[in-house]
């Protein structure tokens, strides 16, 4: 059936993300290329020093994340998985893991890039940024 939903892994979690488990989900004996993107909390934004981030997700965020994975999996025919962390994160913490495996690297790089763009654009997740000077702000306003 062409309308069958691709098998994907999508997870919203308040625990540290298990990159190896996400990669295991997409790997298969016929896959020669694995591309994983990790979004990491960095110490600066628009020229200001950042000390920490609080991520909040809408209760339906996991369904939106699944949709992103399913769209990319259906469009590329590849194995796709993603996980997003919520809660209080500090510099260096992994906020997003997105993995794609393919037979060859070109299609894996392209699909992973598309997946990350789609996640940023369409999953209802918000972050409050704590600045080094003590102020805090919602990102994107």
């Amino acid at each position: 059936m062409s309308d069958q939903r691709p098998d994907v892994l999508a997870l919203i979690s308040d625990q540290p993300l298990d990159t190896a488990a996400i990669e295991r989900f997409v790997l298969a004996p016929d896959k020669g290329a694995l591309v994983t993107f990790r979004g990491i909390v960095r110490d600066h934004d628009h020229g200001l020093a950042v000390s920490a981030l609080d991520y909040q997700a809408h209760p339906d965020a996991q369904r939106f994340l699944e949709d992103c994975c399913a769209i990319v999996a259906a469009g590329s025919g590849l194995r796709v998985a993603a996980a997003h962390r919520v809660g209080s994160l500090v510099i260096g913490d992994v906020a997003l893991v997105a993995s794609v495996a393919a037979a060859h690297r070109g299609e894996a790089f392209a699909a992973c890039g598309q997946l990350v763009d789609l996640i940023k654009q369409s999953v209802p997740i918000w972050k409050r940024q704590h600045l080094a000077d003590g102020a805090s702000e919602w990102v994107g306003l």
Binding site: Q56, A95, Q121, V123, W126, K127, L141
Partner: protein
């Protein structure tokens, strides 16, 4: 209609949810800006509404029993 607020929208409204009446996304948008002023206006400028499980920015979209006010997404 139940209106639920998230993240910056909850902060702008000062509540997480309340009951309001509006027939469309556009009517709710106008009402929220009148009610909560510039802070809500900033949230809605690039924000969206979740209506029946679908994200909408269409002012003509009809509202049902529940709508969620979503600030601009900032995942990743």
């Amino acid at each position: 209609m139940l209106v639920r607020y998230f993240a910056a929208a909850a902060e702008a409204a000062g509540v997480e949810e309340e009951t309001l009446s509006a027939d469309t996304v556009g009517a709710l948008r106008t009402q929220l800006v009148e009610r909560y002023g510039d802070t809500m206006s900033r949230v809605l400028r690039a924000g969206s509404f979740l209506v029946d499980g679908v994200v909408s920015r269409d002012d003509a979209r009809a509202l049902g029993a529940r709508v969620d006010v979503l600030p601009p997404f900032a995942g990743g």
